[in-house]
């Protein structure tokens, strides 16, 4: 791909992508820390995650503002336009991931008050790792404009769902077994749900990357589901 004749345009576009990537890194950290906080019952870390979330909000607003400004002032066309819109949409997804991470962290504060539930925590940890890996992969795919890698993330969406479903059942069993854990488990339920949704966002991002690179609005027919966020119960 050639560079734009107008360097500042090139710069602005690159800035947008870079900022998006940076926001991705931050989100990844937030999600990782949120999971860690839950797993390690680390309230300090949880508080740190809650506190850092605002940075993501600011970043998202900034990316959106820049994207709109770019559209207004540069009239991007073709792949530039797709890049801009993609950045805007990815930022929105990342911001949601950040919110979910914050939500997980907040629940840590409640969960630490209850007894630790080792097997559950391990399940959460495993699911967390999986989701985090997906997020990391898709963000790497974004920075590298690597369509194959993004598609790989997209096609492995079911793993997370399976994890979530088994975790859901596990939690219900747990609650029924020991009603004292109901409050904690209810929160764990949401933690699991949040992780599942972060996974969905990763899938979404993969779709956005696909759109950015190819310009096609839908990805072939490998996956029958039209919306990644709408499949779970």
């Amino acid at each position: 791909m050639n560079e734009h004749i107008v360097k500042s345009y090139e710069d602005e576009l690159n800035t947008l992508t870079a900022e998006c990537a940076r926001m991705g890194g931050l989100t990844e950290a937030q999600v990782g820390d949120g999971i860690d906080a839950v797993v390690r019952r680390d309230t300090t870390l949880a508080e740190a995650v809650v506190a850092r979330d605002e940075r993501l909000d600011v970043l998202e607003a900034d990316i959106e503002r820049k994207a709109i400004r770019l559209i207004a002032l540069r009239q991007p066309m073709a792949n530039d336009l797709r890049k801009t819109v993609a950045a805007m949409k990815i930022a929105m997804n990342l911001e949601r991931c950040g919110d979910l991470a914050k939500n997980i962290a907040k629940r840590t504060l409640v969960l630490t008050e209850a007894e630790p539930m080792s097997p559950l925590t391990r399940s959460i940890e495993r699911m967390g790792k999986l989701v985090l890996g997906r997020l990391k992969d898709v963000l790497d795919a974004y920075t590298a404009s690597d369509l194959d890698r993004a598609l790989a993330v997209w096609s492995r969406d079911d793993e997370v769902d399976e994890h979530y479903n088994s975790l859901f059942r596990e939690l219900l069993t747990y609650m029924m077994g020991d009603p004292r854990t109901i409050t904690a488990c209810a929160h764990m339920l949401f933690v699991a749900k949040n992780l599942e949704r972060i996974g969905d966002h990763a899938t979404n991002i993969a779709e956005i990357i696909h759109y950015e690179i190819t310009g096609a609005e839908t990805i072939g027919s490998a996956r029958p589901k039209t919306d990644a966020l709408a499949k779970e119960i």
Partner: protein, 281 residues
């Protein structure tokens, strides 16, 4: 919005010919009006167009874009044989208008130009009255037989060009007294008066300010329901706004042609992409 979906479907049909024109067979509802095949143009020894094959759909606006000297105007001027008026220009290849080769000896260029109207870069009304400007074509082609018929024709044409309201009370004042944008619409009215099938426009807005440009674009949009319009424009934004099909020329070759929506959001050829995103050269 069926019209918009058509564009994205248009390129589904397989090209009949080895060509870069993605919408060779036109959209489902747009019959092909002009079919150019392997058009080569030479100015003296210099070749200006290389094997251009393009289909221009009926009742739609087709925009020709590309950098200076890419041959887009040259191609436009082949359609109504205005290249004949340039000394040393030779045109090879077929350009069919409704299946007839315009370069055929049996086609009188004068008659052809009656069927294919043209609007130029600079508004060029004759230094006559507004009425006479519009009536001129009818007079030379003998289209009307009575004065009242002629008056009706002038009125209709001016109305179609969206100028009637502004000039109805001064039909007999010189056309050169109008503003640039009005002049350009007058010129369009003049072209319409001969009831052409095709209207060629060679950068019709490059001498106008944004407001006048918007008016002309609005007019073009209205006219496309009745005519086959081919517009050459420097401004990609304009091509994006007014056209349904876009063809990108570069160095005398047709690089890519397809539905406008697609060309501007997702062009196939990297040269097209580079050009419309400002990465060229």
């Amino acid at each position: 919005m069926p019209a918009q979906r058509d564009d994205s479907q248009a390129h589904g049909s397989a090209p009949v010919h080895i060509t870069v024109d993605r919408a060779h067979a036109g959209g489902p509802q747009h019959a092909i009006k002009i079919r150019a095949r392997d058009v080569n143009v030479f100015y003296g020894d210099k070749q200006a167009l290389f094997d251009v094959s393009l289909d221009v759909p009926e009742k739609a606006v087709t925009a020709l874009i590309g950098p200076s000297g890419c041959g887009k105007s040259t191609f436009l001027r082949c359609i109504n044989r205005m290249n004949d008026t340039i000394p040393g220009a030779t045109v090879r290849g077929r350009i069919e208008l409704d299946g007839e080769d315009v370069n055929d000896r049996a086609i009188d260029p004068v008659i052809l130009r009656g069927r294919v109207g043209m609007v130029f870069q600079k508004p060029n009304p004759f230094p006559k009255t507004i009425f006479e400007n519009v009536a001129y074509g009818a007079r030379i082609h003998g289209l009307t037989t009575s004065k009242s018929e002629l008056e009706a024709l002038v009125e209709t044409s001016l109305k179609k060009a969206g100028l009637w309201g502004e000039v109805a009370d001064r039909l007999h004042q010189p056309g050169t007294g109008l503003s640039g944008g009005q002049q350009q619409r007058l010129v369009i009215a003049r072209a319409i008066a001969v009831s052409p099938e095709v209207i060629l426009m060679d950068e019709p807005c490059s001498a106008l300010d944004p407001i006048a440009t918007a008016r002309i674009e609005e007019l073009i949009d209205e006219l496309r329901n009745q005519y086959c319009i081919v517009i050459v424009t420097h401004s990609m934004a304009q091509a994006a706004r007014v056209s349904q099909k876009t063809a990108f020329f570069h160095l005398g070759k047709l690089v890519e042609a397809g539905p406008t929506g697609e060309i501007f959001t997702n062009p196939r050829d990297s040269r097209t992409q580079d050009y419309i995103t400002g990465r060229f050269g």
